[in-house]
Symmetry: C2
């Protein structure tokens, strides 16, 4: 059992018995051609010299130290994780034989923690989010983790919406839960990606938060929730980390028939519909800049815009062109008389697409194999 | 003096005392990023393995043999001409110290022919046109050359319009000139690039032809016309090819103050306005496929289109996208939900531009130096 260590006073204390689980198994097809099957976006440098995975780890190390990180990834990408995060102990990189979405991913980490130390709080974060204010994030996650430890809740990090984003999921919050800052609320229901009208209402009514996809709960509490909602997943994962066994073989067998379902759809949403059911779900309301860079359309907020509204990474000459998003570190791009366009060039492949169709980039990755162009995946 | 040689009968006879002057000095800024200052489009392979210059030469060699070709180019590109056309005698590549448009270019060739053989018919063609039916072209040029030799006319090759092209210049023809096939007409006036309404009228009324930019006339007749319309050009070029002199030095001095003016604007159009003036201008009406690939917008006719109207060179995945023009031999291009777009990638530079703005690509080459990106010119 890892013991908590104090590194100076108060805020800087490393959380005891707590792990940060970084989910780094994403395939990110909406980021094509930048995100590829072989190099998904969490391994890429979108915001600066460090990759999104490295940024995520560095933001969270002050909470739990390097030894408090658990990285869940796929066999295909384990090598890349070791390369990018050499300070994470090798046995803290949990390798799924195949990706089965977040319910299985988090379940696997919960089993690992259970096996290693009986129980413990797990903070769960995606590897590919962009958050500039690491201190604000850690403050919120500290609160979430201590709420999870104290109350046996499933704690979500809800971000106060700053714009009517249609690409995010929302949570509707109910009564405030007593005690502590930041404010914590009961979760009433989940709202999947809304249309523009609903998104505007959610942004204005102060009763909705963005579902950040970041969570805190005890491993034991999550296992109970998984048992209630996805018992086959829970049971398949039992004992995969048991000492002295062939983990790889057990994992392969366990994952063979696992359903690919997200923790939101498979666990949190069903639980939220059964009002009286335990464990209950609460949301810590956080205020920090947060980007789920889920598609090219998110880039203007990340990179900023010039006076014509163009958000660019690379050498771009824009003539009579505005509100475009251009990613092309290896080329000069000249835009003449175009608007609201995404132009993204990476690894020998180029995407041209209107901004409002950023989500449809997935269609490219579906169509490539049919044309015999799988090597561009 | 080069003598005519017979290579078989009739149509295949090499024209005596006739030169084909290939104008290969173009800068082709409307073809950026494919055409660069350093490698203008005449040196590029747009239609097949051979470059446009090589195609042009091969089409015309049957008329005048390799020794009947004269290539006018700039100092910057002379080496490329020698490389691409090794069978053209080195002294048949006339090197202008700077480009001064077509009036000076043709005047220079006329002086060379005068110096070498007193007089002779010169057939003048741009190096960058695309013509698939070489035999039809040669038939028309043979007729033009013999008309030029017999009647002392300035003979234009006029192509019967097949579509309301707004990117070409038109000539209005008058009464038919007696004798010979193809039909030959007096030229009444020149019509620069018309709007769509006029272009439709010109295409339908049978009184207009496309100005192909291909000509035939005697060197002596052209010198007379140049003397009348641009006397300073004519005089500056006097004696530059005189035997035993330093041609390069004389050329540099001659070109220093030459006006850059096209043969159309500087010679043919002024003459056509002086009805009684000699030499008179006539047009041989030709019917062959002819493309002045002046901009990306011309490509669909050259490459053909798929069922969605996309004309592509390279690997292109078009999803909900139509009527696009894509040139990207080195990349995979995915189009999602875009229409009527030009996407052209070459030499580390990429253009994205609506089809109807193909002419505005010149603005890119003007703007690049201001941004310090001259290396992409």
């Amino acid at each position: 059992m890892r013991s908590g260590r104090t590194r100076g006073g108060g805020r800087r204390r490393v959380l005891a018995s707590t792990y940060v689980v970084i989910m780094a198994g994403g395939q990110s097809t909406r980021f094509w051609p930048l995100g590829r099957r072989r190099v998904p976006k969490q391994f890429l440098s979108i915001t600066g010299p460090a990759t999104l995975l490295q940024e995520t780890a560095r933001r969270l190390v002050p909470l739990v130290s390097w030894r408090g990180l658990l990285i869940v990834t796929s066999a295909e990408h384990a090598g890349e994780v070791h390369r990018q995060l050499p300070r994470v102990p090798r046995d803290h990189v949990l390798v799924e034989p195949v990706g089965r979405n977040t319910a299985a991913c988090i379940g696997l980490a919960a089993e690992w923690i259970t096996e290693r130390q009986g129980d413990g709080v797990m903070i769960v974060v995606p590897a590919d989010h962009v958050i500039k204010d690491g201190e604000a994030l850690r403050r919120a996650l500290r609160a979430a983790a201590s709420r999870a430890a104290r109350d046996n809740r499933l704690v979500l990090l809800g971000v106060r919406p700053t714009r009517p984003e249609t690409g995010y999921g929302y949570i509707e919050i109910g009564e405030r839960v007593a005690g502590g800052k930041p404010a914590t609320f009961m979760v009433r229901r989940f709202r999947e990606k809304p249309g523009p009208v609903l998104a505007r209402r959610y942004t204005a009514d102060r009763r909705h938060l963005w579902n950040s996809g970041m969570f805190a709960w005890k491993a034991s509490v999550f296992r109970t929730a998984l048992e209630r909602c996805l018992p086959t997943v829970r049971q398949a994962l039992t004992g995969v980390w048991a000492a002295g066994r062939d983990h790889r073989g057990r994992l392969r067998r366990a994952y063979r028939n696992l359903p690919a379902v997200s923790v939101d759809v498979g666990v949190l949403q069903p639980l939220s519909r059964q009002r009286a059911a335990e464990p209950r779900i609460v949301a810590v309301r956080a205020d920090f800049d947060w980007f789920d860079v889920g598609s090219w359309a998110a880039m203007p907020e990340l990179w900023g815009c010039d006076t014509a509204g163009n958000a660019v990474m690379g050498k771009v000459l824009a003539i009579d062109s505005g509100d475009c998003i251009v990613y092309a570190p290896d080329r000069l791009v000249a835009l003449v008389g175009v608007n609201d366009l995404i132009v993204a060039d990476s690894g020998g492949a180029l995407l041209v697409c209107p901004r409002q169709r950023a989500q449809d980039v997935r269609a490219v990755t579906r169509a490539l194999p049919q044309r015999g162009w799988s090597r561009y995946l």
